[in-house]
């Protein structure tokens, strides 16, 4: 595992930001860490790179306890956050000149290629760059030393679609040789490259699995019946049920097969005419989960 946490916990005053998170990211994976705002994604990521110290539990990153990460380990880990504070008065060119000297493994050719691709103005101060330009500059700063692990905290937040595509293409260009942990609300953008998903709710890790396994177990289900449907007989894995006369729509979080689903539905309701299930995108799964957890809380 390139990332492995054990009961990782962080509290801020009385707020439980992260509680007993056991996250595992396999080497070579692109893992999407998803959850609503305040779910604990950023705090978890900050603990992984030792910007924050856990109150309890531990995290191993590249096989090293996160609290023991040394400068040599940081040559292999890149961290990018939407609200990272850069030396704003340095120009783009000066910033990369500065970064180049920090990393013996800096790939100047890749930097040049990405800078040309992203069309960053070399003489403009970082503080005067637009949000999109700034994210691009940070991405070049994160990719150009070819890290073994790339941790990205909301890299697409606030970007227009064009810039989002550019940033994603930059990330994807490295996906083959880098393990990635990415948190983002732009799930449709990252779905294509995601191999694993971890979902956080209120500081806890609800589940983590491969994208195939997750896509396989979530279905949007529409049930059509001849008469009315009894609202009190729904299992827990049926999320966000919506009744509309003789029709019921829900998301099945425990889908195994069409036959099994059909049997489950008919066991609960009489006069079922039709059961239809369709696969969900990562975005829709995430929305369903968030809605369900919001209703629960």
């Amino acid at each position: 595992m390139i990332i492995e946490t054990e009961n990782l916990t962080k509290n801020f005053w009385r707020h439980d930001a992260v509680q007993d998170v056991n996250l595992s990211v396999p080497e070579g994976a692109t893992c999407a860490l998803i959850g609503a705002n305040g779910a604990g994604k950023t705090t978890t990521m900050r603990m992984l790179v030792n910007v924050l110290e856990p109150d309890r539990g531990s995290a191993r990153v590249l096989g090293v306890d996160s609290r023991q990460l040394k400068a040599a380990d940081r040559l292999r880990i890149a961290f990018l956050s939407e609200n990272q504070e850069l030396p704003d008065r340095l120009t783009v060119a000066e910033y990369f000149e500065y970064l180049r000297t920090l990393y013996p493994n800096w790939d100047a050719a890749l930097e040049k290629q990405l800078r040309a691709q992203f069309e960053l103005p070399p003489t403009r101060a970082l503080g005067k760059l637009s949000h999109g330009m700034r994210m691009k500059a940070m991405l070049i700063g994160a990719l150009s030393f070819r890290p073994k692990l790339l941790i990205l905290d909301e890299p697409l937040s606030g970007l227009d679609p064009l810039v989002r595509d550019e940033v994603m293409s930059g990330i994807l260009s490295q996906a083959d040789e880098t393990s990635i942990l990415i948190s983002s609300h732009e799930l449709s953008e990252i779905e294509g490259c995601t191999t694993h998903v971890a979902f956080m709710v209120h500081g806890r890790l609800l589940f983590q699995q491969s994208i195939e396994a997750m896509s396989g177990r979530f279905r949007e289900v529409t049930v059509t019946a001849a008469g009315g449907l009894d609202r009190n007989r729904l299992p827990e894995s049926w999320l966000n049920p919506q009744f509309d006369g003789s029709m019921l729509r829900f998301v099945d979080a425990g889908y195994e097969s069409a036959q099994k689903l059909d049997a489950q539905v008919r066991q609960r309701f009489a006069n079922v005419l039709h059961v239809e299930s369709t696969p969900l995108s990562l975005r829709d799964i995430s929305k369903s989960l968030m809605r369900a957890t919001r209703q629960e809380s």
């Binding site: 900050r46 790179v49 880990i77 500065y98 970064l99 700063g141």
Partner: protein, 514 residues
Amino acid sequence: MSSRLSLFGTLLRKDLRLYGIFAALLAVLLAAAEFPNLMMRLGSLAGLLQGALQLGTMLLVLLVMYEDAIVSMKHDWLTRPIPGTTLLAAKSAFVFLAVIVPPVLGSAAYHLSQGRSLAESALSSMNAGDPFLLPLIIMALAAVTSGIRQAIIVGLSVIALMALLALGVTLIHGTVESAAATSSGWVLRRGMQGTQLIASVAILWLQYRHRHTKAARTIAGTAVAMFVLLLALVTWPVVFAVQKSLGPGSAAAATLRTSLENDCFPARRLESDVGADAAVAADVTAQRFSEEHRRVAGPGAIAFATRLASQGAMPGDMLSVGHVEISYRNAGGSLQLRPGRTSWQWAVVGPDATTLDHYWLLPSAEYQRLSAIQGVETEVNYSLSLLKPRLTVEFMADGRRSYYAGIGYCGATVDRAAATVDVDCLVPGAQPALLTANLVGAPETRAASSRPVDFTPAVLDFWGSTRYVIKLPLQDSAAAAGVKVVTYEARAHFDRQISVAGVLGGPVSACPAP
């Protein structure tokens, strides 16, 4: 090692790139401020410039530190391959170059321009500016705060807290005389400086080595509390007790006899108008008391003098009064008075009698109360030090400067227009307890100094240098002037307590109020 060095260079270059112009401007002004002739030309603006330079220095140090803030979760450097200690080394180097070096160079340049040798100019410059402590404290402040706004709030809160505590102590104990400005004040001064130094270094180390913000903030809070406690609790008795325990014993003072001269103390009443000085006689003048002293004593206060006579000291020794206090004692009465000024007081003593005068103010109401008490006694407590000569050099006041081993660079010029001989000595490193200058052949009582007696131990006084500029009255303007410079060290520290009956040197009937 070489990669660390290269990283150090990278970080330093980055800060120089970001703040080089500000630092250069500040450096020029800091260097210029070391030219007294230039500052004199600025007149009242000089004070303003000094204040602005202090603020500019603090701002620059804070900006550079916050550029890569340690109390942060967002700064870029936190996830880069930058060891905290290397970052701290780079920041310290920047501060050293931008804030500490310019005044040193400015001072050296000034002394060179005054015709001093390179060696003497270099030694003179070591005291330039506020060498290390202030920048270090500002760095430590930046290491426990997340930005300039927070630093200002914390700084102002600390100042307010200290002022409140000082006010509280004053309300409870009355005006507490600071022991810092006395001959043994180094105990307090170095104690406070040591607290600041140790706390600042510990904070920086904890933060940049381990990022233990909570522990660092605890240390900062403890240091502030200790600082305040030192100010409030380390008064003269504590300071002198430390001095006695560290300095030479009191045995050497056994042969010194002390007594109070005069049967009745010379006394006069201040006029009812607090500001009026004219009514006070020449020997007990109001000028010896500050406006504050007179205001506190109130109208009609009695000004009086005590004269300490000493006999039996070794020839050439000096007697220094560190502190003197009068207490009135009886079954129920207890009042302490302190004289207007003691810390500068010293006198050559020898086998013959030598006297030292002290001047006091007794509020009228207190006099009435004390004089009505049966068997009231006046108790005068002296904290004294005997100084013995260590080195003596003699030279002509011909304008030439020479180096004298054990003292430093000295020279003297005759200012015939002012009828003075101007002696100028630069003493590097550990300072003598006292340095006096006198004209060869003049009575020893005419010896003068430009610095109060100071018993700071050599081990705590290794850095920098002190300049003594002493003007001696030229008796015979036609004669060539020979100058004698003498340095002294402590021979003994001791206390003497002298009691007399009554309030003003004798029973009230014999020594009534004026």
